[in-house]
Subunit: 201 residues, 2 copies
């Protein structure tokens, strides 16, 4: 019995390829400046073909964001698994998050600003994915506040922390002198207001 012409597994792969290409291009050029033709070309398709997998360009953004955030969330969970000390947990969260932002190829958390192109329903679903992503952060910040290493873990603190980290995508250069490790260290030091680790070696 010969193989069927279209294997279901391949179709799922094509979908995932489209999502990765879309996420990367949306981050690089922005949602509005990225054409569906750009995305098609990035995965070797013709201009109309992405619409076989996704109903619209918006749908592509929505799926890229939600699936990217949940994947990042799984990475966070795996990274802090078994780490009890809150300061160490924070270090790992920060380093993992910066890795996703600066070294990954999906970088979904950076697409928040592009959700303005979506309707309310999509934005609500994306907000829920963001909420899930923030859970381990809030827990860690509260533990640090309880142990006195952080002055406050009130709601704006978490958001300020994300800002501090996410904004680095606007200025960080992979080819510069500052490594991602050193940046993670600088961020944690700023938060806890302690000397950066490199300072005493």
């Amino acid at each position: 019995m010969p193989r069927k012409k279209t294997e279901p597994k391949l179709e799922a792969n094509r979908r995932a390829e489209l999502l990765r290409a879309a996420a990367r291009l949306f981050v690089e050029k922005g949602f509005a400046a990225t054409t569906t033709r750009d995305i098609a070309e990035a995965v070797g398709m013709r201009s109309g073909s992405p619409f076989y997998h996704f109903r619209s360009k918006q749908e592509l953004l929505k799926a890229a964001m939600i699936e990217g955030l949940d994947a990042g969330n799984a990475q966070l969970a795996a990274a802090i698994e078994g780490i009890a000390d809150p300061e160490q947990r924070l270090r790992v969260l920060v380093r993992t998050h910066l890795g996703t932002l600066l070294e990954g190829d999906c970088r979904s958390p950076l697409l928040v600003s592009e959700t303005r192109a979506l309707d309310d329903k999509a934005r609500t679903e994306i907000a829920a994915a963001f909420d899930r992503y923030q859970v381990p952060w809030q827990e860690t910040l509260e533990a640090l506040a309880k142990s006195g290493k952080l002055a406050s873990a009130a709601p704006p603190v978490r958001l300020l922390v994300f800002g501090m980290l996410n904004w680095s995508s606007h200025w960080y250069r992979t080819d510069g002198a500052l490594t991602v490790d050193a940046l993670a260290d600088a961020a944690v030091s700023m938060l806890l207001n302690t000397a950066p680790r490199g300072a005493d070696s």
Copy 2:
């Protein structure tokens, strides 16, 4: 002697109006998603008329960014004039900057991400305007580090601070419970790792 039909002063006003409208729309909808027709309509012009004042849409973004940043810079200078204590200076810088971002109608610092639509020459000029804007910040951070209130004033610290503040434009709601004053306070407290001011009243 009757008035001339076109007064030179009015023409400069129209240019300024276009810049303000462009900056606001670019922040709200993004550069690519904002049409020159949107901008024209916002100031009561017809679709082709903005091109009487600016050569291209890119030119409009460039001018909005540079003039906006320099105006913001002048505001910062005026606000910290005569304040000697570095902690107080930081408080004023943060509050003034957040005012520009969240309460102003130009909000130019938020347009960094849109400069990807410009050519290298324009980006270089905008980078210079950003450098000017950052001078008072770096001086203040260094003074704080010298007095021991801040663990480090190394270059990434300033950038992390800007990230912390600028990112708030993605989540801050003018109609929420958190005032800009309280947000400024939370940010300064996080930086110095001291209890927020509201905590002891």
